[in-house]
């Protein structure tokens, strides 16, 4: 087969399908979709802020109502944890690539960096998501003068729950993020090989 035959064969595809659209409806449609996405994002942000606000409110009022210095410290830590979580989520979202008009390599590199940040977040979930409320709970329970058995049962329940969350996140890193990052690395490598 001759090289220039490829173009001739390709021409067939130009006769196979055609895209039609009504210009006025099309613009209205696009603007509606943009508004819809905007609404989805705003609602998600709102939900996150409300959830963090509730954590702060519950722990903050707990610090006020509960007696015992350790319990109070635990409650204050819990409230600070709410602030930390919202900060971490907002910070990682800032790095999401939004400029899809970048040259392909730059876009892929930017996307890879963003995914790496998300992956690291999940991989380190123990430090920023699990450990602070665990310590807060531990201090709170100690401050409540519980018996050793009671304390051990409560902490064991919390530990099991956290272990479950920890392994879910580890699984997410392994099953979702690692393969995605690998695919992006391969694509970036492909481009670098051309250079």
């Amino acid at each position: 087969m001759l090289n220039d035959e490829l173009e001739r064969i390709w021409q067939y595809s130009t006769k196979a399908e055609s895209v039609k659209f009504n210009k006025t409806e099309f613009l209205t449609d696009l603007n509606m979709q943009l508004k819809r996405f905007d609404r989805i994002l705003k609602n998600r942000d709102r939900r996150e802020i409300i959830a963090a606000g509730l954590v702060i409110l519950i722990f903050g009022s707990g610090a006020f109502f509960f007696t015992g210095i350790l319990s109070k410290i635990g409650m204050v830590l819990g409230a600070l944890y709410g602030v930390l979580v919202i900060y971490v989520f907002k910070n990682v979202k800032k790095h999401r690539p939004t400029n899809s008009a970048l040259p392909i390599k730059d876009y892929l590199v930017e996307y890879r960096q963003y995914l790496a940040k998300e992956r690291n977040l999940l991989a380190n979930v123990i430090y920023w998501y699990l450990l602070p409320p665990f310590i807060a709970c531990l201090l709170f329970f100690i401050g409540q003068n519980m018996s050793i058995t009671q304390l051990a049962v409560y902490m064991l329940i919390i530990f099991c729950l956290y272990a479950f969350i920890f392994f879910l996140n580890k699984l997410g890193v392994k099953k979702s993020f690692e393969p995605l990052i690998k695919k992006l690395d391969d694509a970036i490598d492909d481009i670098e090989k051309i250079e």
Binding site: M1, N3, L6, E7, I9, W10, Y12, S13, T14, K15, A16, E17, S18, V19, K20, F21, N22, K23, E25, F26, L27, T28, D29, L30, Q33, L34, R36, F37, I40, N99, S100, A101, L102, P103, I104, K105, D106, Y107, L108, Y111, S176, P179, L180, K183, L184, D186, A187, D190, I191, I194, E195
Partner: protein, 166 residues
């Protein structure tokens, strides 16, 4: 000003829509509808147009966004899609029925299957090349030099021909 942007956008889409759709088709898995990806590209074009600077040709800019969105969609094809864009005003007209199956059609199917077997970047470059995009423009889309693109196209064409013969 808004009217200007709308006019530029509609003209750009009008002159590139079939081309964008054909590219999207090659980045869509067999069980997915290329229209979904196509609509996602259009939405991104519309969203990005206000920030378009006349530093490059608008068609080059369109190809960049198309390829970036297609590559991103491919990376995420294993994960469930978050929110599908549904544009009711878009209609894909199938003209195949009006054309009697012939040798060209068979060859085109073979070519399509071979292109689908190419890796991401090779696929993007050959698709733009077959669409008649110049080496210079393809180089701008990828942020590479024309020479690099020329070499890559030559190699990919040979690979494609071998795949078609096999």
């Amino acid at each position: 000003m808004e009217k200007d942007i709308e006019t530029i956008f509609l003209n750009t889409v009008e002159s590139n829509k079939d081309r964008i759709f054909r590219i999207c088709r090659f980045y869509t898995a067999d069980n997915e509808d290329p229209k979904d990806l196509f609509q996602d590209v259009l939405l991104n074009l519309w969203k990005s147009l206000p920030s378009f600077k006349n530093q490059s040709n608008i068609d080059t800019w369109v190809y960049r966004i198309t390829i970036n969105i297609c590559l991103r969609a491919k990376q995420f094809s294993d994960k469930k899609q978050k929110h599908f864009v549904k544009l009711e005003s878009i209609n894909i007209q199938n003209l195949e029925d009006t054309i009697a199956p012939n040798e060209n059609e068979k060859l085109f199917i073979k070519l399509s299957e071979s292109i689908k077997r190419l890796e991401g970047i090779e696929k993007s470059i050959i698709l733009l090349h077959l669409e008649g995009v110049s080496y210079k423009e393809i180089a701008q889309v990828f942020g590479l030099t024309e020479n690099h693109i020329a070499v890559k196209i030559k190699r990919t064409r040979s690979k494609l021909l071998t795949l078609m013969k096999s």
